[in-house]
Structure formats: C-alpha cells, structure tokens
Symmetry: C2
Subunit: 345 residues, 2 copies
C-alpha cells in the first residue's frame, strides 16, 4: 500500500499540518509514503519523502520540487512527453483546519475520484462548526454543554462568568479565550472575531475531567484507541497543543472504570455513525457527575492520534481498505430525449 499524505494548504493550521505530516514518517515505518504539499496559494507540490523537513517549507525550498495538477483519478506531473500520474493507492488527508477539515479537500478528492482517508464533506461541516456539532450530537443522542451562539453583528450580552469564548469554525484552540469577568470580554471577542464571524459562548468549568478517544470503522466495527486523559494546565493554548501534532510515542491509558470506558465508546459510536465512515477521528469528551458530554470532534486529529493506538499502522492500512464508495448515479438522458421528441426536434 502506497499512501499520499496531503498537507499544508490555506489554513490557520498550515504549520501544524506540516509537523503532523512529518511525524507520519516515524509512525508509518513499513508503508511507502508520498508527500503532496499544498502551499498557501493552494498549489500542489511533490516533496521527496527522504529529504522532508519543516525547513523545506519555511524557507520556500519546496518551490524547487515538481508542481502537480489535480485531475480525474489523481495528481499529475507535467512532462515533456505528456502528464505523468503520481503513483499511490490512497490519500491520507492530513490538512488540519481550513481546506482539510472544512470539506474543501474532501470535495476535491470526491470530485476527482481520488480515494482518501479523512472526513467526507458532510462529516467535515458537522465537525468544523462547533455550533453545528452540538446540533448533530444532540440528534445522535449525545450530550454537549449548552452554549450561546453569536454572529459578529449581534448584540452580545454575557452576564455569568467564567465562560469560554470560541470561534465556531477553528480547531487547535485558535482564538479561544477563558473569560473570568466583564473586563475581559471585549478583548476576548476581538480575538475570536479575528478568526471567524461566528462564535459560541460556553460556561467554563474549572478542572473538568477530560478524556480523548479515537477510532475508525473497519469492516463495520469501530476499532478503538485507548482512552487518554490529556495532561493540561488550565488551558491548552496553541503552543502547548503543538506537542499533540508532533507526538509519536504511546501515551498512558487513563485510569478510569470499565464502565466509563464503555460509556465513552458508546458515545463515540453514536457520533461516528455512518457520517464519519472513511475517517479516523478523535472525540474529546468531558465527564461531569458521571455524565459524558462531547466537547469536540477532531476528524483529522493531530498526527492522526497515532500515540493512542496499539497498532496504529495496521489500523490505518485496514481503514484504507474500508473506504466508503460513491453511489452510482445513472445518467440516461431519458428526460432530455422525452423533451426533444415532445418538441419534435
């Protein structure tokens, strides 16, 4: 199996996507990898696997490598004797944030009939927008913390503190603030609206128990990771979260009851449903008074949450063989023919 890792793109998480992509070299040791970088102008480049480093991108050196076009059934490199198709079996979408997690790349791969590991378009929209996530979870029978939704043009009133203010559509804690009193509101709103036109305001619960669980549906059954209790200071900001994207070593399993593990798995299964088929996702849960609440869905978790799996490489390769197929759509021109004969043309 040959996997093409697609990463970068026009995203606030462009750089951590690079870090995540490079980490794959260490965890997918027995798999052939092809690296396809999307630069900030959304041009595709083929980066040699053996020489990839973060500096290739920050220095602009990537521009010396072959530029690719996306067309039906794959990526192509221009050559003197016609276009050469880049050889791989499946794409691993490792583009965190914009383009990757908002459905843009999923749509591209769908349109061009390129098999890919990653959330499909609806799954992307469901997870990228924190407000839609809450609606979706509720439909699936999974609890979330209640919130207020605001558009930047709305009149915003926050009366009870502390709260957490989040842009609707960004991951990795970008633009997120904990607000402890009225004086801090304005600045936090400015920060959030810098990244998005829509925000949610949630009650902030200090010392809430947090558990992460990843998994992917393979042969109709979800293969789960271990449950992790993420280490946290009061709040993980972007710098601290960077570690998640670079992590390649197994972490320790959370020390919780079998009963709670079962509850988390049950909630994960409800969220994954059929919507997330084709992807390996990480769900981050809160546990309050023994009740499980979904905090967020990471449909392309940092470094694919490899550090939570017993055998990440095999899980990913099995998933690659279990991708959802596009529905066959017959196009017969029966209607058009009927119109033509009705018109006598």
């Amino acid at each position: 199996m040959k996997i093409a890792i697609v990463f970068g793109a026009k995203s606030f998480e462009h750089e951590i996507s690079i870090v995540s992509a490079i980490a794959m070299k260490e965890v997918l040791k027995n798999t052939q990898l092809v690296y396809i970088f999307i630069d900030k102008n959304r041009e595709f480049y083929l980066i040699p696997t053996n020489t990839i480093t973060s500096k290739v991108f920050s220095s602009g050196e990537y521009k010396q490598y072959p530029k690719l076009d996306i067309k039906q059934n794959g990526f192509y490199q221009k050559g003197l004797f016609g276009d050469k198709k880049i050889d791989f079996d499946v794409v691993l979408n490792l583009t965190h944030g914009g383009d990757g997690e908002d459905g843009v790349l999923a749509s591209l791969f769908t349109f061009f009939h390129i098999p890919f590991i990653g959330p499909r378009n609806i799954a992307s929209v469901v997870s990228v927008d924190k407000f839609i996530t809450k609606q979706y979870a509720s439909n699936m029978g999974v609890k979330t913390l209640s919130c207020q939704y605001y558009h930047k043009t709305n009149d915003i009133k926050i009366e009870n503190f502390p709260v957490i203010i989040k842009p609707c559509k960004l991951g990795s804690s970008i633009g997120v603030s904990i607000v402890k009193n009225k004086d801090e509101v304005e600045y936090a709103l400015d920060v959030a609206f810098e990244f998005d036109d829509d925000i949610i305001v949630e009650e902030f619960i200090d010392n809430v128990k947090e558990y992460n669980l990843a998994g992917a549906k393979i042969d109709g059954e979800i293969v789960f990771s271990i449950v992790e209790e993420p280490q946290k200071e009061e709040f993980l900001d972007f710098d601290k979260k960077y570690l998640d994207f670079n992590r390649t070593k197994r972490v320790n399993e959370a020390n919780i009851s079998e009963d709670l593990v079962a509850k988390l798995k049950d909630n994960f299964t409800k969220i994954y449903n059929t919507t997330f088929e084709g992807s390996l996702i990480r769900c981050d849960f809160f546990v309050i008074d023994d009740e499980v609440y979904l905090n967020e869905i990471n449909p392309i978790p940092g470094s694919m949450a490899n550090y939570l799996f017993d055998d990440f490489e095999n899980t990913l390769l099995s998933l690659a063989k279990n991708l959802p197929q596009q529905k066959h759509i017959p196009i017969t021109y029966d209607y058009v023919n009927k119109i033509q004969s009705a018109k006598g043309k």
Copy 2:
C-alpha cells in the same frame, strides 16, 4: 460582465441542470455567457453558446468541444503554445442536486479562487440535507414540520398515516412518496433508499398552503422576488417539476395579505442570514393556521427562479458584484521557525 454557467455533473438532476442552463440564454439577454459543461465522468467541456441545445449532451456531441482543466484562478484550455485561460468574470453555479448543491463544486471554486454565484460549502450542506435544514432553521428561529429521521440500517416504524417519505439529500422530489397506509410503506422505503441512505418521515398535510419566495443579499439588503403560490396537483413529481427548470416567463403573484408577505420575508431573511451570502435562493414555505413553516431551501433553484423577479438580469448582475470574499489567512512560518531554533537545526 461575462458569466460562465457551470452545469451538468454527476447528479440525479444532471438533465434538469441542462434544461436550466439553456433557459438562461433567454433570460440573460444582455449578458455575455460562457457555457462550461461537466459530464457524468466529471470532465469539463466548453460548449459554444450559440449552438447549445439539449441534444448536444444527450447525443454525446459535446465531446467534440474543447476539454478544460480547472486550476488556480480559472478554467484552462490546452493549446499548442501553452494553456489558454477561459475568459469570464464570475461563475454561475447552475448544477442542481449532487456536486452543485452538496458543496462539492462550491469547494472547488473556493479552492481554485474562482468567484461564483451559488451557495458556499456550509450553506450547501445546510440545505442539501433535509434533516440538517430543520436543525438549522430551528437555530435561526424558523419553524419546520417535525419529522422522524432514519438510517437504512434502522428499524423503521410508521404508525400514523398519511406521511411523506423523503430521502434526506435529494431535491426535485426525487425518491419522495406520499404514503397513505401500511401497505404502501415498504415500496416507498425501497424507492427512497435507492437514492439515499438516510430518510425523513413527515406528516403529510393535504391541501397545505404553499408559497415560494426567492431572494439574494445585495449591498447588505435582501432583494426579494414576488411570492408565488405554486400550482400543484396532489404532489409535484419529477416530470411535472421539470417545468420549473424550463420556465422563463413571469408568473402571477400570490393573492395573499401584506401581513403574510411580511412574515414570509422575515422568515426568508432569518434563513438567508450570512450563511447564504453569494447565492440567490428560493425558500419554499408552508402556511398552516397563519403560521409559516420552512419546507425546503433551494440554494440553486430551477432556472434560478428567474420567473419570480421583476428584473432578474439586473438582480443577478448586482449579486455578482456582491460576492463574499475569502478571509485572509496569514502563513508566517513563525511556529516552524521556533521549532527549528529550539532544536538547534
């Protein structure tokens, strides 16, 4: 202003998209049009505006016209002396159903920085999935009929009749059945699941009052069409609905109170919000006991609902000058540089 009409694609509504596209020639009389056809294999073709007929597509004749590639900033035709960019100012997305209304083409145009009239990706997902539409409407303070949602793997129990069974993600009444008693359930479910894995079941209300209203946000204000009371037999099936896609003549305004018109406009405005910026949409409403309920959102209505507007051509051209812009995303490599210096590399 030169408009590129993009139509066809891998969709159950491929053929009515062709009909819709051709109708534009008659209503956009003073605008230069370019026709870009997407065939069932999702290849792009440039079709000459002066010779376009439905037969060009049903006969396969379109294949003799130039094939195009989509790349950054536009569509390109291969030539002996390099690629030639197709000249137009803005795309009009006239691809009904799959690819066009599910966000796939919106994502393509976004990715390749091609300005387009049509729903953006989130707006597409919100309107293409009838179950998500109901959640969205409720968040925006707009009523919808309650429904049951089922996946094809669910155990389905329908006790009260009549009901209307709809695939979640198809338009133009495709796969929709009115079910009057238990005997008709199995066949109706078979039909619906042929088109989609998810369905909704709604109470069917006979002789419900139906009103359609279209509009687009221009300079921050919604320009509304007239309100239409669609003529209907018990139920509009695909053949009958075809007329909507071919229609180029003004229809008569519904004979309703100013108060009801104001209510419909208010509900339309709530649905349009900022989510639908860049598109001209038609909302189909039910009115029951003076209460307005959203039935569905058509983010690319048949022949763009031109027949509802006083001056369709100017409305569309003004919309073309009022498209939402993509957010600027700074990519600085600050993080990557920080990591490199931390590692001493």
